[in-house]
């Protein structure tokens, strides 16, 4: 687009060019930003706001009834049987969060450390550890449901084969093992993610710094707790926050492995399942209550947003302090 030799008129034109280009740039920005903004508004902001709004109304099926104020919130929190259902699901979520914190993040840190120290086979395991993360939750859930089948499942068959037949049990069919089985499946599925993030954090530590530590101690424990862990703290913030959000939004895996009722006897019931069941009904109960469901969704949203903010702010502060 270069013109010939610059004449005085061309020079005059060039003086106007920046202004033209500014409008062009503004146009581009508008064209590029408006569609995604509209998309976000329509499919994310609008549903959130409408869920807030729905929670304040009485619903007959999908037909909106009278404005009832905070009654829906009151019902799910304080009126039986909703009160115990809410409490039970919430308690299960809390358990899931702490269990995954240890099994998924804790194991992830250990795996990352092992991979980082280049133990034999690290190249293979670096890929192997992350592979399950790529699998669809649905596939993982069905696989584990098969593995844990009381008669044909590979878990019980292996136990019997090893002469530990008395340990074989219907893992998903009894209250004291069902939730833990789901937690293990979830941890297996996602352990690669914290591993990857921690590993990236560790690989940023300069090798001379590790040499410096080795000059002062040969204890792996001191190296991990005093040097490696503080230096990967920034990675920990994001991993903790995402795990918290994930644990309280947990839905797909329990839905497939334990069903919408959180069977057996609500022992695997979590807020996600409970909300879905309340809002949209299920095959066995048939009833659906949009108002109560929306109230639950709003409460879950507020809880997650508040706690996630606190976690992030607290951990960020610690990062700067370090």
């Amino acid at each position: 687009m270069r013109e010939g030799p610059p004449s005085s008129s061309a020079r005059a034109k060039r003086i106007f060019m920046p202004q033209l280009r500014m409008t062009g740039r503004g146009l581009w920005i508008t064209v590029l930003i408006v569609p995604p903004l509209a998309f976000v508004a329509l499919f994310i902001v609008y549903p959130i706001i409408s869920a807030f709004a729905y929670a304040f109304f009485d619903w007959q099926g999908l037909r909106r009834g009278a404005f009832v104020g905070l009654e829906n919130f009151h019902t799910v929190l304080f009126v039986e049987p909703y009160r115990s259902w809410t409490l039970n699901a919430f308690k299960n979520n809390v358990l899931v969060f702490f269990a995954l914190m240890v099994l998924q993040n804790g194991l992830g840190f250990v795996l990352a450390y092992a991979l980082w120290r280049e133990l034999p086979g690290a190249r293979f395991h670096r890929i192997a550890v992350f592979l399950p993360v790529v699998l669809s939750t649905i596939i993982v859930a069905y696989l584990f449901k098969l593995f844990l089948h009381p008669l044909f499942g590979v878990v019980n068959i292996s136990l019997r084969g090893l002469g530990l037949g008395e340990l074989a049990q219907p893992w998903l069919g009894q209250s004291n093992t069902a939730l833990w089985s789901l937690i293990v499946a979830q941890a297996w599925h996602m352990v690669g993610f914290p591993t990857l993030v921690f590993l990236a954090g560790m690989q940023r530590i300069p090798s001379e710094m590790l040499d410096a530590v080795r000059m002062e101690t040969q204890s792996e424990w001191v190296k991990i707790t005093k040097i490696v862990w503080p230096l990967v703290a920034p990675s920990a913030t994001i991993v903790f926050t995402l795990l918290f959000v994930g644990a309280f939004n947990w839905f797909e895996l329990p839905y497939i492995m334990a069903g919408l009722d959180g069977s057996p006897f609500g022992s695997t019931d979590v807020l996600g399942l409970y909300f879905y069941r309340t809002a949209f009904g299920n095959v066995s109960a048939g009833q659906q209550n949009f108002g109560l469901g929306s109230a639950l969704a709003v409460l879950i949203f507020i809880f997650i947003a508040l706690v996630a903010t606190v976690i992030t702010v607290r951990l960020r502060a610690r990062e700067i302090q370090l």
């Binding site: 040499d211 080795r214 230096l231």
Partner: protein, 354 residues
């Protein structure tokens, strides 16, 4: 008290041999500098002494005790790294206290040692700062302080000045020399800079391609280099090597004149090593000496270096007075001081004694 013996130390990475059997004795309170070009194995040797990498062969004894299988933290050796390797999440005090506490010292002793190191290195006002709030020179001093606090028998310093700017470099160099006098420990210092080596060392170990070329005091290495590698590595500007033929007491440059140097070993061809201060220039062409043509002159204030091309194309540097400048392309005659020339074998480059 620290007496180090390295006996036949070898190191290979996979099938590449990096060190081919290093034998070296280092005495108590010595300041030893490993010097050599990049990739000569000097840092590798330092890491083997520290215990950071395993040896592929040979033995390392510290005060007569075999150290091969002793972990780095138990060797009584402290190391100062090129990048300083300070712990970014600890302040200066904690950086220095970390290693001392791990040695099992009690609180009072740790505090006393840090206070002493801080005073010696002028770190007192910086104790509460984090490493990122310090300048390069300050970080360097903290790294040295961290080593001091452990009161090691041996200090290892791996190119400690290479991340500092030129002005700071000579300042910290003096500081390290002062520190060595003050604490009197054994220090092993790695550098590729021969000026650092010359100014700091009691003993210089010149290394090349995984072997020791020569060990000696700075003066030994400068005055009696064992071979052409050491001769050209030590001293600035570099020693010039000229291929010449012996004829009686004269060295003859084919088609380029000859110089009288006195008694000569009985070999046909040899390499003549000329330092800039052993060369005399005379403005008359065709005199007694090598014929040469001035290429350029470097004026340095208190003196000047004149670079002269000989008949075979070799460039010789000659030091002259600041008022004794030569125009480019001038034809000159080069004579040498008979007592200050170096003679090396034409074949393997080893020093020849007349």
């Amino acid at each position: 008290m620290a007496q180090l013996s390295l006996r036949g130390i070898k190191k290979s990475f996979r099938n590449v041999d990096v060190l081919h059997g290093i034998d070296l004795e280092i005495g108590d309170r010595e300041f030893v500098v490993f010097v050599g070009p990049s990739g000569c194995g000097k840092s590798t040797l330092l890491r083997l002494i520290a215990g950071l990498d395993p040896m592929s062969g040979g033995e390392f004894l510290l005060n007569g005790k075999r150290m091969n299988d002793v972990p780095p933290s138990r060797r009584g050796i402290a190391m100062v790294f090129q990048s300083y390797a300070l712990y970014p999440h600890m302040d200066v005090y904690e950086n220095m206290a970390f290693g001392a506490r791990l040695m099992g010292l009690d609180k009072g002793e740790v505090e006393a040692r840090i206070a002493e190191a801080a005073r010696m290195l002028r770190l007192e006002p910086l104790l509460q700062r984090k490493p990122r709030e310090l300048s390069g020179g300050q970080r360097q001093r903290v790294a040295i302080g961290r080593a001091l606090v452990r009161k090691p028998q041996v200090f290892l310093l791996d190119e400690p000045l290479s991340n500092l700017d030129a002005a700071l470099r000579s300042e910290v160099r003096l500081e390290i020399a002062r520190l060595h006098r003050q604490i009197g420990g054994t220090m092993i210092y790695v550098t590729h800079d021969q000026v650092e080596a010359m100014t700091l060392a009691d003993k210089i170990v010149v290394m090349n391609a995984g072997r020791i070329e020569q060990v000696g005091s700075p003066r030994d290495l400068y005055e009696t280099p064992a071979n052409t590698f050491v001769a050209t590595f030590i001293g600035s500007p570099r020693m010039t090597l000229v291929d010449v033929r012996c004829e009686g007491e004269r060295l003859v440059l084919p088609n380029g004149g000859s110089v009288h140097v006195g008694a000569l070993p009985d070999v046909g061809e040899l390499k003549l090593g000329l330092r800039s201060d052993a060369v005399r220039l005379s403005r008359t062409a065709g005199g007694d000496g090598f014929a040469g043509q001035v290429v350029y002159t470097e004026y340095l204030g208190d003196n000047a270096y004149v670079y002269v091309r000989l008949a075979d194309g070799t460039l010789v540097a000659a030091r002259t007075g600041p008022d004794d400048l030569f125009e480019p392309d001038h034809m000159v005659t080069i004579s040498v001081e008979p007592g200050s020339v170096h003679l090396f074998s034409a074949g393997d480059g080893r020093r020849l004694v007349p």
